[in-house]
């Protein structure tokens, strides 16, 4: 029998990882919602940011949270560059081309990282990597708590940005109806560029804050993109609040399934949920049918 404190501990770690997953998925779903592009390379952008953060710590002894000052603008630029060089040229192409081109980007990132850094798993040890404080029956790991808090803050900031600012409203308008938005004077190409860059930045932020307690290798991106898919679909592709709820849900499912069933079945369970949702509610658990 598994004790209640163990379950609470698992739920807590599910909550923490779920928050990070939510941020990753929101970046993914924002890009899809606006540009209609399924970015297979999204998880590898997380990986790339992890490597940058890792090397900033190793070479300049920059704390991962401080390194955000470098990482966030850098990856906004990376996103913009990717958009201008590649994505822009395939926006009008069919979905299959979107998938293949972004898969190509995934392979570029993976093999670049593998070529320069090798395939080994690397990690860093910060002062707080192993710290935790006891709260009631559970131990709260500091590094994971920090990652979750920053992720949720970022989600909130993004939410406010989309809801309140002119640019945010332009993004939502373009997602809803591209022609309509263009008609009322929204600079749609610029909105696409900004959305893709913001999505990239969200992935980078998530990557940076998990470095204190996660190992990085050129291949960790796969795990993140698979999670982002599932979460984005659960929440309804393109929906930011849906992705937040989906992220937390997947965090819990992952934590509990590794506790009760088997860690190696975790992905299978997550994907079984994905299939069920796609069959019965393709607009997502939290989304609304667009018919």
């Amino acid at each position: 029998m598994i004790g209640l404190d163990v379950v609470v501990q698992a739920l807590l770690s599910g909550l923490f990882m779920g928050s990070v997953y939510a941020l990753i998925a929101i970046g993914f779903t924002l890009v899809f919602g606006v540009t209609d592009i399924v970015n297979f390379a999204h998880g590898h952008l997380v990986m790339a940011a992890m490597f940058v953060t890792y090397f900033l710590f190793k070479t300049a002894h920059l704390d991962p949270y401080l390194s955000l000052v470098v990482v966030l603008p850098l990856f906004f630029g990376v996103g913009a560059l990717l958009y201008v060089l590649v994505i822009q040229r395939i926006v009008e192409a069919p979905h299959s081309a979107h998938m293949m081109v972004t898969l190509g980007l995934l392979l570029v990132f993976e093999n670049l990282a593998n070529l320069f850094f090798g395939g080994d798993l690397r990690g860093i040890t910060t002062k707080y990597t192993t710290s935790s404080f006891v709260m009631g029956p559970v131990a709260v790991p500091l590094a994971r708590l920090g990652a979750a808090v920053v992720s949720l803050l970022a989600v909130a900031v993004l939410g406010v940005f989309l809801a309140r600012t002119t640019l945010g409203k332009a993004i939502r308008a373009s997602a809803n109806n591209r022609e309509g938005a263009a008609l009322v004077g929204v600079n749609v190409p610029r909105v696409y560029l900004v959305s893709f860059s913001l999505g990239t930045m969200a992935a980078a932020l998530a990557g940076a804050v998990i470095v204190p307690f996660s190992l990085v290798s050129p291949f960790v991106g796969h795990e993140f993109i698979l999670k982002a898919f599932v979460i984005a679909v659960l929440g309804g592709l393109g929906s930011v609040p849906g992705a937040l709820a989906g992220g937390l849900l997947i965090g819990f499912v992952e934590a509990l399934s590794s506790l009760y069933i088997s860690a190696s079945l975790g992905n299978a369970i997550v994907f079984a949920i994905l299939i069920a949702v796609l069959l019965y509610r393709p607009w997502g658990i939290f989304g609304q049918a667009k018919v």
């Binding site: 293949m100 081109v101 392979l107 670049l112 898919f229 079945l265 369970i269 299939i275 796609l278």
Partner: protein, 315 residues
């Protein structure tokens, strides 16, 4: 037509003569390339001709690999026969998957995600299924038993792989000219219009997935016999799927020769580099993958029909 037939015969003659000049290392590269070409062609049936962009074909590849291997180990059935059983099983699974997916009208990007999910679920189940040795995988013994699809030398594998590609190209050409193939194309180009003009689109899509799944399973069986090792990590990951897609999309989806062209370019050269005595083999192989990834992106942007359309434009 006659000219093309002549070119085909010459190409086949050259291909048949390769083992006479190629060493065992280079021959391995050719086998890998032919195997990739076969897989790409099998995926192309669903994705290229019928426009059903499946990301879950590793599932069918894995079924083929495990079916022929388990039938051989448990019942002593020769893989020559077992591979057909695997194909039948994969075909049934493909049809069932398609029926489920199309029953709920899952299309486009969602279809791709469901099929990807199906393969991931299968990998998770295989990892936890003790009868097929879970993540440890199954090792086959190397021996000389041609009746059981085991060879000590590379040449027989090469000819089997070549025969599979030739058969698959023939199937593709027949399909292109058949009524079924026309229905596939109609579904791909405009499903609503196809439906309106009397094509049973659900049936066409289901047949496309089932046929493509069964054909893909043969590749899985070949993999098991060639590498003598089957595990979820080798046959049920995204890797086989990626091989199929790269070859097809680089060469040209929805054509009978494009996938061969793309696969030979992609796998053949990569494998040749791996087997040639370079100073830094690892860097060379990774570097070649990097070049292909960039090539893929450039081709999809500037030549969406694949390399095969280059020749067509000139003609």
């Amino acid at each position: 037509m006659k000219g093309r037939l002549a070119v085909g015969v010459v190409a086949l003659g050259v291909a048949a003569a390769v083992p006479l000049v190629a060493g065992q290392h280079l021959l391995t590269a050719f086998i890998v390339a032919l195997h990739a070409a076969y897989m790409a062609l099998a995926w192309n049936v669903a994705a290229g001709y019928a426009g059903q962009f499946s990301l879950g074909h590793s599932l069918f590849y894995g079924i083929g690999a495990y079916a022929s291997t388990m039938l051989y180990l448990k019942l002593g059935l020769t893989p020559w026969v077992g591979m057909f059983a695997g194909a039948a099983l994969a075909g049934v699974v493909g049809v069932l998957l398609a029926l489920g997916v199309y029953r709920y009208n899952v299309r486009g990007i969602f279809f791709a995600l469901v099929t990807l999910g199906a393969a991931e679920v299968a990998k998770g189940l295989a990892d936890n299924w003790h009868w097929i040795k879970g993540p440890v995988g199954i090792l086959l013994t190397m021996k000389a038993a041609p009746a059981e699809f085991f060879f000590l030398r590379r040449e027989p594998y090469y000819y089997v792989a070549l025969a599979m590609v030739v058969a698959m190209v023939a199937i593709s050409l027949v399909l292109e000219r058949s009524r079924l193939g026309q229905h596939f194309l109609a579904v791909r180009e405009d499903e609503a219009a196809a439906e309106a003009s009397g094509v049973d689109t659900h049936r066409a899509k289901t047949v496309a997935i089932g046929l493509s799944a069964a054909l893909t399973a043969f590749a899985g069986s070949f993999y098991a016999q060639f590498y003598l090792y089957v595990s979820p990590e080798t046959v049920l990951t995204f890797e086989p799927q990626l091989t199929m897609m790269l070859g097809t999309m680089v060469g040209g989806a929805g054509t009978a020769l494009g996938p061969v062209l793309g696969s030979v370019l992609f796998s053949g050269l990569g494998e040749a580099l791996r087997n040639l005595p370079f100073e830094n083999t690892r860097q060379v192989v990774i570097g070649s993958k990097l070049v292909y990834a960039i090539l893929l992106i450039v081709i999809l942007i500037y030549l969406p029909g694949g390399l095969i359309t280059l020749g067509r434009r000139r003609a």
